[in-house]
């Protein structure tokens, strides 16, 4: 690895002291509760708070039990792309997704790795249908997402968090995008999987034909799917059924996010009222 002169240098090579975790198929016990006591179709408790970063135009922080994601949005600025002749009529969203170096079990490097780049593109595709891009032609909105701790379905949490941050930054949008993910192996399905369940279903237990993980970006008011990111092994009709099942759950999450946004806007109006009195 070329020496990075812009950071304090540690020893050349160092490896993790933990033995690599083997996949425990115990997670798949039929019909029983999951490792953290949730039922199969139950989502983790969501903690969501807009306006956490004072310096950003809009920001949001989401916590799904151990998955913690923070996102900040800056107001539109001149498009930085060098080929100026592409005077597109549509604005652009520039997403940057980064796992913190201490976010996973394995330490990650400071530079952007392959999956950071991949998630940036997926997040960009998930948000673009929701934002009225024609409102700011030739401008780009920067969406910066940082995963502080990753315990499964971090992309889904990032989609919801980025949607709320965009709303907090008053970017014109058609709808609040909501991210949901589901892992399945054999006939057990985990809604909003944790890190261990996700790794388990990605590999799939031998002999089990259907397994995999998929993340959906939803725009519930128009019932649109903005991003469908799946990896695994499944037949098409079962996949269609699962997508519509997840659709119903998306509506609930969407209501919750709307309520949070509403209360945040109300509190900012009240505070700005009495701040007028003060001056």
């Amino acid at each position: 690895m070329p020496v990075d002169h812009r950071r304090i240098q540690g020893p050349e090579c160092s490896e993790d002291y933990r033995k690599p975790k083997t996949l425990d198929a115990a997670l798949l016990k039929k019909g029983s509760r999951r490792a953290d006591g949730r039922k199969c179709g139950e989502q983790r408790k969501i903690f969501l708070k807009p306006g956490v970063v004072s310096q950003a135009k809009g920001s949001a922080y989401i916590e799904l039990d151990h998955t913690k994601v923070i996102c900040s949005v800056f107001d539109p600025r001149e498009k930085a792309s060098r080929n100026l002749e592409q005077q597109t009529v549509r604005g652009e969203i520039f997403c940057e997704f980064k796992f913190a170096s201490f976010s996973g079990v394995q330490r990650r490097s400071h530079q952007q790795e392959a999956d950071d780049k991949e998630y940036s593109l997926l997040l960009k595709n998930a948000l673009e249908p929701a934002v009225c891009l024609h409102e700011f032609p030739n401008f780009q909105v920067d969406v910066q997402v940082l995963v502080l701790q990753d315990d499964g379905s971090s992309l889904a949490a990032a989609i919801t968090c980025a949607g709320l941050a965009l709303a907090d930054a008053a970017v014109p949008m058609y709808d609040l995008p909501v991210g949901l993910s589901k892992a399945f192996s054999g006939d057990t399905e985990f809604f909003d999987p944790t890190g261990a369940e996700e790794r388990m279903c990605l590999r799939g237990v031998d002999g089990e034909s259907d397994h995999g993980v998929f993340t959906i970006g939803f725009l519930p008011t128009f019932n649109q799917v903005s991003q469908l990111f799946h990896s695994g092994h499944i037949s098409s009709d079962r996949f269609g059924k699962m997508i519509s099942e997840v659709g119903t759950l998306a509506a609930e999450v969407h209501k919750a996010v709307q309520a949070i946004l509403l209360s945040a806007v109300k509190s900012s109006i009240d505070s700005s009222d009495n701040s007028k009195l003060l001056l």
Partner: protein, 274 residues
């Protein structure tokens, strides 16, 4: 009305406030913003802490790994601090390799660790010349609203307090290492350095714990790292001249503040132990 003056004549706006020795956000000159320290919030890291001073938020995550000590000092482990100022925390930073302020802060933290010897590097060595611990301390600023150095040092020290390292036995002949994950012993710190930053304004007024716009308007800053009795660093990169007594005034304020910060860290440590 006040917003327009602030954007057009920021200096005049600030001087009017300082004339009545009060600050735009209502604080007195030597008053410090409310500070909160939350410890052990990231379970995937071996040690972590989040420090919030006013609006400035810095999170520090420490990952421990095993490595071979270098030749110069074979019986010492490593503590590698690195500060990241991502574009997330403020529009002034670009994405890509760390900018100048980030590099200066990382070097400042590395100097403090060397000066104060708060982590005894010998205790990090498992087998001299064969195997030692390396603690990668990665600090990420989530909100850049002034005096980020204070928050970084506080976050680093409190995260180091929460680090627990598993027992490792190294068998020289067979060269394999056995790690008992259950028996974890905490890392002991020899001292608790804390930083306080002061901004100097037209040579006479000194503001404690400046916010982002105060920092951008001031003529110079001075950061003093102390743990109550001895000084670890008096870092004044330039800015206006400071006479003798003003300097010692800052040092005494810094010492008082480091004692209060130390109390807060110990209180939050008890909260996670119980």
């Amino acid at each position: 009305m006040s917003v327009h003056i602030k954007t057009i004549h920021p200096m005049k706006y600030m001087r009017d406030f300082l004339a009545r020795n009060i600050r735009p956000d209502g604080r007195k000159l030597s008053e410090v913003r409310p500070t909160a320290i939350n410890v052990g919030s990231i379970s995937t890291a071996d040690g972590s802490a989040l420090v919030k001073i006013g609006n400035t938020v810095v999170i520090c995550g420490i990952k421990a790994e095993l490595t071979v000590p270098n030749a110069e000092n074979p019986n010492e482990g490593f503590v590698i601090p690195n500060v990241e100022l991502p574009p997330l925390c403020s529009p002034q930073f670009k994405s890509g390799p760390p900018g100048e302020t980030a590099q200066v802060s990382s070097q400042f933290l590395a100097d403090i660790l060397v000066n104060s010897k708060c982590v005894d590097l010998q205790s990090l060595c498992i087998m001299p010349d064969k195997l030692a611990w390396v603690l990668y301390c990665d600090l990420i600023c989530l909100d850049h609203d002034g005096s980020v150095l204070d928050a970084c040092v506080a976050a680093l020290v409190s995260a180091l307090c929460t680090v627990t390292l598993p027992e490792v036995k190294f068998d020289a002949i067979t060269k394999n290492k056995t790690v008992e994950l259950e028996k974890r012993r905490p890392l002991t710190l020899t001292c608790f350095p804390f930083a306080s930053t002061f901004a100097t304004f037209d040579e006479n007024s000194i503001l404690a714990d400046p916010s982002e716009e105060e920092e951008s308007l001031c003529s110079g800053t001075i950061s003093i790292v102390t743990s109550g009795d001895s000084l670890y660093s008096v870092h004044k990169p330039g800015g206006c001249q400071l006479s003798e007594n003003r300097l010692s005034e800052c040092i005494s304020k810094a010492q008082k503040r480091s004692l209060t910060l130390r109390g807060m860290v110990e209180k939050s440590m008890e909260s996670i132990k119980s």
